[in-house]
């Protein structure tokens, strides 16, 4: 399982990287960040990039910082950076909670937050987080920069709105207010496996009432998204077992789950129901 040949580039700056990307987009030029997802696909020769643009040497993209009301995560930031909260408040805690379920320790040493987003595996935890929190993704090319809303970013399995000549340079997550609560739950066969389904529940506690609810489902459909029908049931109500079950049922009803030889849609629907309820219960603690 040796990869096919490619030409290797190691740019020292983002400008250089996107210039190379622009130059080699036609020859299937790809960004190499953590490599934890890309390199296996190259080993199977499912991916055969003619050019690899290694961004691991670019210092500028290793930043992670708060910019106004957003947490800015550079393209070089690895999963391991989130083992401890990267910012105060619920957002930092949320990211530290989620990262525990991402793959395995050595994978987290190399894999990157933005790399996960660009790869867009439906079972990616960061993709679910980005979709649920309405992240803004910043794409750069030799022609300039643009911002893409998360809801528009994830198109389908392994497919994003990024053009062939665009590099995802940073992800911007909204800083959650101090009264925000969250719960995250995923189901996988073994620790570290891709999730069969995951649910992220976030809301703001307004004197015991739920407002600005966000229910995000990942791993069940071809891309992660917020489930408005479930959020509508939560908003304006006090947390309760019945409310959580109703929201979970609503989410299970509206999802259009992926299927394969071993897993009927009904199974993922059951998971959506169970995990949405559990995520809500966790948010409520």
């Amino acid at each position: 399982m040796k990869p096919a040949s490619f030409t290797y580039h190691a740019p020292a700056s983002v400008d250089e990287a996107v210039a190379l990307l622009g130059q080699y987009a036609d020859a299937d030029g790809r960004i190499l960040a953590g490599g934890q997802s890309l390199v296996p696909t190259m080993a199977f020769r499912l991916a055969r990039p003619g050019h690899l643009i290694d961004i691991n040497g670019i210092d500028a993209i290793r930043n992670i910082s708060v910019d106004g009301d957003a947490l800015v995560i550079g393209a070089g930031v690895r999963h391991a950076a989130f083992h401890h909260p990267v910012c105060d408040g619920p957002l930092g805690a949320l990211l530290s909670r989620v990262v525990q379920d991402i793959a395995h320790f050595p994978i987290r040493m190399r894999g990157t937050f933005c790399g996960s987003l660009a790869h867009a595996d439906p079972a990616s935890e960061w993709c679910a987080v980005a979709a649920t929190l309405d992240a803004t993704l910043v794409a750069k090319s030799a022609d300039g920069e643009r911002r893409i809303a998360a809801a528009d970013f994830f198109e389908t399995v392994m497919t994003t709105a990024l053009a062939e000549n665009e590099m995802l340079v940073e992800a911007r997550l909204p800083i959650l207010p101090a009264n925000a609560k969250f719960g995250f739950n995923e189901f996988s066969r073994r620790a570290g496996d891709f999730a069969m389904t995951m649910a992220l529940a976030v809301w703001e506690d307004d004197n015991g009432g739920i407002t600005n609810a966000r229910i995000g489902i990942g791993g069940a459909e071809d891309r992660p998204r917020r489930i408005a029908e479930a959020e509508a049931i939560l908003n304006g109500n006090a947390p309760s077992d019945e409310i959580f079950r109703a929201a979970a049922d609503a989410a299970a009803d509206v999802v259009d789950p992926m299927e394969d030889h071993a897993t009927p849609a009904s199974y993922r629907r059951d998971l959506v129901r169970a995990l949405t309820r559990r995520a809500c219960e966790q948010a409520n603690t």
Partner: protein, 159 residues
Amino acid sequence: MTEKHDITLTINGKDYQVSVEARRTLVDVIRDQCGQTGTHIGCEHGVCGACTILLDGEPVRSCLMFGVQADGKELRTVEGLADGDTLHPLQQAFTDHHALQCGFCTPGFLMLAAGILEKNPDISDDDLVDALSSNLCRCTGYANIITAVKAAAEEMRAG
């Protein structure tokens, strides 16, 4: 396409100057060009962890990197664990507690454990098992590996 890159890998403190294609994986460069065959290939798609080495002190899967990416970096492999004739506490613990049978996954586990314990000597038992569950073993059923790493951790903390 067959352009070669001249790189220097520092493995266990020794420099190896080699000339490799970009597509040559790090584990292949370590094993073939540098002749250090202690690191093993179990799957070549980043699942089993047999290829685990330490790169600048961090456990990584060397089948998921290319040799050219490790140019100028400090690599540590199982061959560098012992101090001359003195076994590393992990190596001693593995043999004391029968934590290996065929031994194929063993270098990966040793380097993973070494990396984890060096980064965080006071890691809790639960977190330790969680981190060790990154790697696959088909012979032992894992129990003795856990016992061995815990024993070594205690000794490394004491020493």
